[in-house]
Symmetry: C2
DNA sequence: TTGAAAGCGATACCAC
DNA sequence: GTGGTATCGCTTTCAA
């Protein structure tokens, strides 16, 4: 591995000069600069992360985590993984500020993002899919802040990258799986968090597309539960009573799955409804073990948090740009048998 | 974060002394030693990996990779991931020696392991489940070599840890899934690599256990294909011809899946046999897209390689013991829709 | 038994 | 514009 020192010797300059060139800090004569760049290129120079980390720890860069996810069980795992990663990066000077709020409120999110200007070097954001939010994101990126969207993406923004799943594919996988395990007539009731969350809308399209050629399948009703268990219980109860012929529940919600299951139990329909959901909250695992839920689509919550934090770390501390814009985790199918994941 | 320097100041000794205590290098008076250990404990000292890596890179530790997997497609991904990880660790001085051979031959594996004594500091091994191998492993660990089993474990050995899946669970998941997608009579033909590979035997038990309460299910025949596509084709063809009532193929093999599928096609049975397999080789993906294979159990080959290498790195370079003995990756269910994984 | 010092790679800052 | 130097945390070596 080539080091700055070696390059400096080869070029007959000091390490400081090489550093200035490699980090675009200016103040170097054009000819020297070009020589250094050429040599670095030829020798295939890559900075040693350990050296860099050691030197960088006085910089104390700050990352803000902005998630309107308070009270939604799925995100506990995401946040936990971020906390763990943050802890292991703390010795490199990386600092974290948390902005965890409750409810999908565009104004609140915009206000939170406004606060960050000048205070942080990076943001990890679960965005609400609204023009006003994407405008705010543009403000941030334009002033040099590194922005990652997590778990959900946003249209027409200038975020640097996205970490999460492909929601359309998630819906499609669920729809296709449903048809593998239930070969008969499918009268489907759907509950989802909010169509304002991009992912939920995409899930719905994916699910529809998987069913589109099945004449035995029809969607009877769709309800928005705001990812709130109480509301979900009420809305699903209402839906089940209004449509007693429903024999499938597709719960594409992040925070309303337990509520939907309780509604099914209230109606005494746990034996004859096929239920497919997302994620593996403790309550979901319980319902799977009971046989109420047949399958769930797992979205790697912990890896989402871990990867997002790692990308920020690599960028802020090691100066490494993310390898790809879309960091897509696979939609995994979990049934009773393989739900208890170890790693 | 506490540093050695701070501990040294607090204890009124030099950094060298603290280092000697913390790394059990002796030559420190008992009372000083105890004081230092106490202070380090109290202040919750953790060595800074960057500092350590920087200082340790002249040590050039060597890890050997021993896998009897040449020609088995599944392991390409495992090895690729190891190569990638090795490359990123090379700047910390970690060196790799590869011993990739063909065929499950106990003598060959023992000979390979014997060669390593005194030459390497760690071994990543896909073991053949035989007493002679576990004896060799004991020799290695007794002389201070760090041994990890990958992809398959071995009984009664003294390996430090295992990275791979829970095969019993994999078989059970497959068996359970089979009953979810096929509700009728199940006349099952099984092909697997070798009962000498612990994992394959465990898969079979898991699969059996999932079916044990289903009166409609029976195993018609089991064949060992030595993870060889040619052999698998022949054996499966023979099996299908001998048992024309087989309507399910459970391919628990690592390297005989394509062969089994070709046998099914040769018999013209691709429409009426339910096929469940393991892993996602390119040929497997093709067969899934064609509809010949209904589902596969994915075993995270890349993560297996990456994690094994990371554990070795942490141990050899950072001096960190592995967090757990069993590093179990989840058995994931993949169908046509979610087979193309991005990350 | 112990301390002091050099060195690993990168960076920041102060002199010139 | 530039070079020199201190620094980060840890290990190793040499001298006392």
């Amino acid at each position: 591995m080539v080091t700055i020192k070696e390059i400096a010797e080869l070029c007959g300059v000091s390490r400081g000069t090489v550093d200035r060139v490699l980090n675009h800090r200016g103040n170097v004569k054009a000819e020297k600069k070009e020589l250094i760049l050429k040599v670095a290129q030829e020798m295939n120079y890559t900075p040693n992360p350990a050296g860099r980390a050691l030197a960088a720890q006085k910089m104390k860069p700050v990352v803000a985590i902005v998630m309107p996810s308070k009270g939604i069980g799925f995100f506990d795992a995401v946040i936990e993984a971020m906390e763990k990663a943050a802890k292991s990066y703390s010795m490199y000077g990386l600092q974290v500020e948390w902005y965890i709020s409750k409810g999908y409120d565009v104004e609140v999110q915009c206000k939170q993002l406004s606060q960050l200007l000048g205070k942080v070097q990076a943001v990890i954001l679960m965005p609400i899919n609204d023009e006003r939010v994407s405008t705010k994101i543009r403000h941030l990126t334009e002033s040099g802040i590194f922005v990652i969207t997590i778990n959900n993406d946003i249209e027409n923004s200038s975020r640097h990258c996205y970490v999460g799943t492909d929601y359309f594919n998630g819906g499609m996988t669920a729809g296709s799986l449903l048809q593998m395990i239930n070969h008969g007539m499918l009268n489907i009731g759907i509950t989802l968090g909010s169509l304002q969350i991009l992912g939920h809308a995409q899930r719905l399209s994916g699910f529809r597309s998987a069913l589109s050629h099945n004449p035995l399948a029809q969607i009877m009703a769709i309800t928005e539960d705001q990812d709130d268990e109480m509301l979900s219980y009420e809305k699903n109860l209402e839906m089940l009573r209004k449509h007693p012929d429903i024999n499938v529940i597709f719960a594409a919600s992040s925070g309303g799955i337990c509520g939907a299951c309780r509604a099914i139990m209230t109606c005494g329909r746990e034996k004859d409804i096929t239920v497919i959901v997302f994620d593996t909250l403790p309550t979901t695992v319980e319902m799977m073990e009971k046989g109420l839920i047949q399958a769930t689509i797992y979205q790697h919550p912990r890896r989402q948090g871990q990867i997002a934090m790692q990308i920020v770390f690599e960028y802020l501390v090691n100066g490494k740009k993310p390898e790809r814009e879309l960091n897509l985790l696979t939609n995994e199918i979990r049934i009773k048998e393989n739900i208890n994941t170890a790693l």
